[in-house]
């Protein structure tokens, strides 16, 4: 398995750990449906993916994964409160138009929300910018800025600050080191490459 491939699926185990067997899951920005396929196989979930791309939606159809092709916000707005046990954002939040609004709606539609994202406070990302004045190009972000989709990078500490301000309860957190495999407990905002949160609306 290539490192890029491994990294693409790094949060699967953690995400799956927090998904109850037989529960209902909405995966926003589901891509080709690989995570949902994994959850369907390992956790027997009723899972639905959302993605704006037709070719990705077709890939989900090919996998036999329910897919709603459309804009994440438009689809979220059509579901009622607590329509799903869990809403998942796996590397989706940094591409949202209005993350605050979308996350707040997701916390209504899902009883729990999983957010997995790349920590842009990770030292390598800081180093590239500070020393070379360039953003990181690696196996996760293989393309130069002009060929990439718009993104809104943020750090672990910025995200936690946001959760505090919004009154979002962090039930669980997993920080993975730069290799996206081992746990990173020490100085996570500096040393964690990837982080995953289990969130709920503060009751």
């Amino acid at each position: 398995m290539s490192q890029a491939h491994q990294k693409r699926q790094v949060d699967f185990q953690v995400i799956a750990e927090w998904v109850d067997p037989g529960s209902t899951v909405l995966d926003l920005g589901c891509g080709r449906g690989v995570l949902l396929e994994f959850l369907k196989t390992t956790k027997d979930v009723f899972g639905v993916g959302v993605d704006v791309s037709q070719s990705k939606a077709t890939s989900c159809v090919k996998r036999g994964i329910p897919i709603f092709q459309g804009d994440v916000d438009a689809v979220l707005n059509r579901f009622s409160v607590n329509a799903f046990d869990r809403v998942i954002f796996s590397r989706t939040v940094e591409e949202l138009q209005k993350p605050q609004r979308t996350l707040s709606r997701a916390l209504e539609v899902g009883r729990s929300v999983t957010v997995g994202f790349i920590n842009h406070g990770f030292w390598v990302n800081r180093f590239n910018l500070a020393l070379f004045g360039k953003r990181t190009v690696n196996e996760v972000y293989p393309k130069a800025w002009q060929e990439s989709r718009p993104r809104n990078p943020f750090s672990l500490s910025e995200f936690e600050g946001f959760c505090r301000e919004e009154g979002i309860a962090v039930r669980r957190r997993r920080c993975l080191s730069g290799n996206w495999t081992d746990d990173q407990k020490l100085l996570p905002n500096l040393l964690a490459g990837y982080v995953i949160y289990d969130l709920e609306k503060e009751s």
Partner: protein, 386 residues
Amino acid sequence: MNDAGKTWSDSDGGEVGFVEEHDFICTEPFTCEEGGHLSEFTLRYETYGHLNADRSNVILIEHALTGDHHVAGVHSMNDRKTGWWNHILGPGKPIDTREYFVICSNCLGGCQGSTGPSSINPETGKPYGLDFPMITIGDMVHAQKRLLDHLGVESLFAVIGGSMGGMQALQWAIAYPEIPKRILAMATTARQNSQAIAFNEVGRSAVMQDPGWEQGNYPQGAGPKVGLAVARMMAHITYLSDRGLEAKFGRARRETMKAGPDARDHFDVEFEVESYLRYQGKSFVNRFDANTYLYFTKALDRFDLYGESGNLAETFKNVKARTLVVGFNSDWLFPPDQNQDIVYALLEARKDASYVECSMDLGHDSFLLHSQELYELVRSFLKAPH
């Protein structure tokens, strides 16, 4: 549905070649949902491919308002055109006749060989006309169920249809939840909006106000030809799109138009789009019955899966089939949001359902056209692990 073209063959797969029509005569009386009765009826149908040993490879195709049972292939060497979905059905094509046994029948109430208002009423020896009972989308499906019973088919691998065909496909999943395993509905709706009903009413008015209609009692070969042609011309515009028409015709003119000072010279065909619509109208009256047009458009208007409760998810509660609904971004007759509503309701009812939107410029009729994206989608849906 488009009358033009479809004279070419598809290079992506083989051809089904020569096909034969069959008639299923049901002698068991049939009670219609609106209360009418038929002592017997005929469904004309075609099949493609071969039924496998455990009869698990049957795909039922549902035609749209003005379509018919002739989906693919030709009837004789003299046929200039193939069936209406020839490019999607055949050996190696998205609906692969090497794998599936495909059935399509002309809807009950139709005019292409199945019993409808133009058929002879056995009780009077004359065409039914308006003595033919009112028909619903549900009736079409129940009649097809009789055909499947006759053929010994107890399970459907998939039901596929667009527009009115999509309505029938959804109706199959609701009326007979144990039979279809997959539903593929395109460019369709769970109920028409006011605009779609309005267009149908203009069409019916054109037919019924033509003196040739004679309260539906016109003799065979005659009838409200002008009214039906006008209805068709108008409806045909709703199957296309602004961009589609613009790309195809723009403001192109016929060269023969020589306008002198006399105003009388100015109202013949001038623009290419006029010529096209007149052709559509004219060719339509030669193949379609005006009363069937009234009956079918009324069936479309009354189709309402929201039911009395107004809750679509409730209607879907017993559905077992996996469903894929495909909307087309340029379809303004049954627009994407009406297609989406079907899937939202299915998901709310916790059914295995998907919505995919094809980006095509040609409006409602896009589902009938060549599109590699659509082919890939159909293939993927049929092949997906269940």
